[in-house]
């Protein structure tokens, strides 16, 4: 399977796009989640409602206009062309997860550390970062999961191997004889495409033990309404 150039490119695309989308999404979501958890401002409910509305959005109705827009901007069939939609659709989930974590952090501890003689940076680095890390990690995992699983954007916003991710590549793969698909090759590719998800599932229980206060959906740590539906 690795000898097949098409699949090799697709896996590299998937890994690259998913990782970059995850990283950027978590950064943007951290800013928003901090504001939602710690500050009082107008439009807070609007952010939450907008986020939830996105979870119910019919994705296919976006691909036509996005297809046209991305061609105009010159990012059709490129990594950024997929990273941007993945970020937007994972933001709601990341924002919710992170703000739930940030609410639980005892922020007074930062001041306490400063009183004890730590610099602001040390207080942040040694006190806040370790407390926030599990939340950031959970948000990152869920974001990666969505990006990896996506199909609709993957098939409609790419046309060549330059950016086509693995699920799309699987669906388009026909092999040398269109009437007799290479089932074994497809199965091998399918297994490889599933590996990252299995790794994530193995990491999850370990994460869960560290954050007993977020057991609402019992084992996932996030209310399921905010999870990707498939």
């Amino acid at each position: 399977m690795w000898d097949n150039d098409q699949f090799r490119r697709a896996i590299l695309n998937s890994i690259g796009i998913s990782l970059i989308a995850t990283l950027l999404s978590v950064i943007v979501a951290t800013l928003a989640a901090y504001a939602i958890a710690r500050l009082e401002f107008k439009g807070k409910r609007l952010v939450l409602s907008l986020s939830l509305a996105i979870a119910m959005f019919p994705v296919v109705s976006l691909v036509g206009p996005l297809f046209d827009m991305w061609r105009t901007f010159g990012i059709y069939d490129t990594w950024p062309g997929l990273i941007i939609p993945y970020m937007s659709f994972t933001l709601p989930l990341a924002i919710w997860t992170l703000s739930a974590f940030f609410r639980e952090i005892p922020w007074e501890m930062e001041q306490a550390a400063q009183v004890d003689g730590a610099t602001s940076w040390q207080a942040f680095r040694r006190v806040i970062v370790p407390l926030a890390a599990p939340g950031v990690f959970t948000a990152a995992i869920l974001t990666f999961f969505f990006a990896w699983n996506d199909f609709v954007f993957g098939i409609s916003l790419t046309s060549t191997e330059a950016a086509r991710p693995i699920p799309a590549s699987l669906a388009f793969f026909v092999g040398s004889d269109p009437f007799n698909r290479p089932a074994s090759l497809l199965a091998a590719a399918a297994v490889i495409a599933t590996i990252p998800i299995i790794v994530i599932v193995l990491i999850f229980p370990a994460q869960d033990r560290r954050r007993p206060h977020l057991r609402r959906s019992e084992g996932i740590g996030v209310p399921p309404t905010w999870l990707p539906s498939r």
């Binding site: 943007v28 800013l31 941007i84 409609s156 599933t194 959906s217």
Partner: protein, 314 residues
């Protein structure tokens, strides 16, 4: 837990009586600045393209002949709404939605009960129920397609009342059944997670009390548990129905829309991406968006769904 729940702490007392203080104004500004990038990103990929779709939908515009773009008003909508193909796709989509949501509600509830009650091997039971949720839809679609295939699938061999060379993808009804089974297998875990969250909110005391009063298991389910998790059930139906209405991946992989199995999402995709009919495709996009809104509205109104429950702003 006892009933002496601590009420949520009152809002911070930084607000003064006579309007907002400087401090809270600054906080307001900072908060809005911090959420701005997220809002912009979310709108850039949803609201903006949707507006563009509305604009494109009033043109006769195909990418194969971009210079021939001409304004035609609502002609695209008239064409779509008078075309039997559109109604056929909508009908089949509604069918997928009703069948899968109804079956998943039952199976999902059983799974949720199992996950909630199981004592031994909790981790194993939960993991095995959630496996389909973790598998990429395209992969699960392929797996089911191979399973139903008459060349090398196992389904025909297992079912005694079906001949070995029965082609599931040769006619509409069996193809729809196959797609529904694949879809149900894939999304029941999501449904049961939604229901599990509701089940966890039902107070054990009430169930205990009903038990003491001599209610049978069946009565406890129908009279105590289900009425008390009504909000969660409604949210589960809402989310799953809207998701089922957007069904796309499974159809793409399993039949590629052959034998009249194409959903409205699939029709939209075909028009825009495969046939480059951006004008027509955009009109379909708008119709798809409106129908999702309509379904959401109907479910929320008919079942009086509590959206605060869905938002879960803890």
């Amino acid at each position: 837990m006892t009933s002496t729940a601590i009420p949520p702490a009152p809002a911070p007392a930084t607000k003064t009586r006579n309007g907002a203080s400087d401090r809270s104004k600054a906080e307001n500004r900072l908060g809005q600045k911090l959420v701005a990038p997220a809002i912009v990103l979310m709108l850039l990929v949803t609201a903006f393209p949707m507006l563009r779709a509305i604009w494109l939908s009033v043109y006769d515009y195909a990418l194969t002949a971009p210079d021939d773009r001409s304004f035609i008003g609502i002609d695209n909508y008239v064409t779509a709404l008078t075309d039997p193909l559109f109604w056929k796709s909508t009908g089949i989509t509604v069918l997928y939605m009703l069948v899968t949501v109804a079956i998943e509600l039952v199976i999902g509830f059983i799974f949720a009960l199992v996950m909630h009650r199981v004592i031994f091997g909790r981790g194993i039971v939960r993991t095995s129920i959630l496996i389909p949720y973790g598998i990429i839809t395209v992969v699960s679609g392929f797996t089911w397609q191979f399973a139903f295939s008459y060349q090398n699938g196992f389904v025909n061999g297992w079912l005694p009342f079906i001949s070995d060379d029965f082609n599931w993808f040769g006619d509409t009804t069996p193809a729809v059944i196959a797609i529904c089974i694949s879809e149900i297998w894939k999304t029941t875990p999501f449904m049961s997670l939604l229901l599990l969250a509701g089940l966890a909110q039902v107070s054990e005391d009430m169930i205990e009390a009903a038990k003491v009063d001599g209610a049978t298991w069946w009565q406890r389910m129908w009279k105590v548990v289900i009425p008390n998790m009504r909000a969660a059930i409604m949210v589960a139906i809402l989310f799953r129905a809207l998701d089922a209405y957007r069904i796309f991946d499974n159809i793409f992989v399993m039949t590629n829309g052959a034998e009249d199995t194409q959903s409205i999402s699939f029709l939209t995709y075909r028009q825009t991406i495969e046939q480059f009919q951006l004008g027509m495709g955009s009109a379909l996009s708008v119709l798809l968006f409106l129908s999702v809104l309509l379904i959401a509205f109907l479910i929320i109104k008919l079942f009086r769904v509590d959206l605060a429950q869905a938002r879960q702003e803890g």
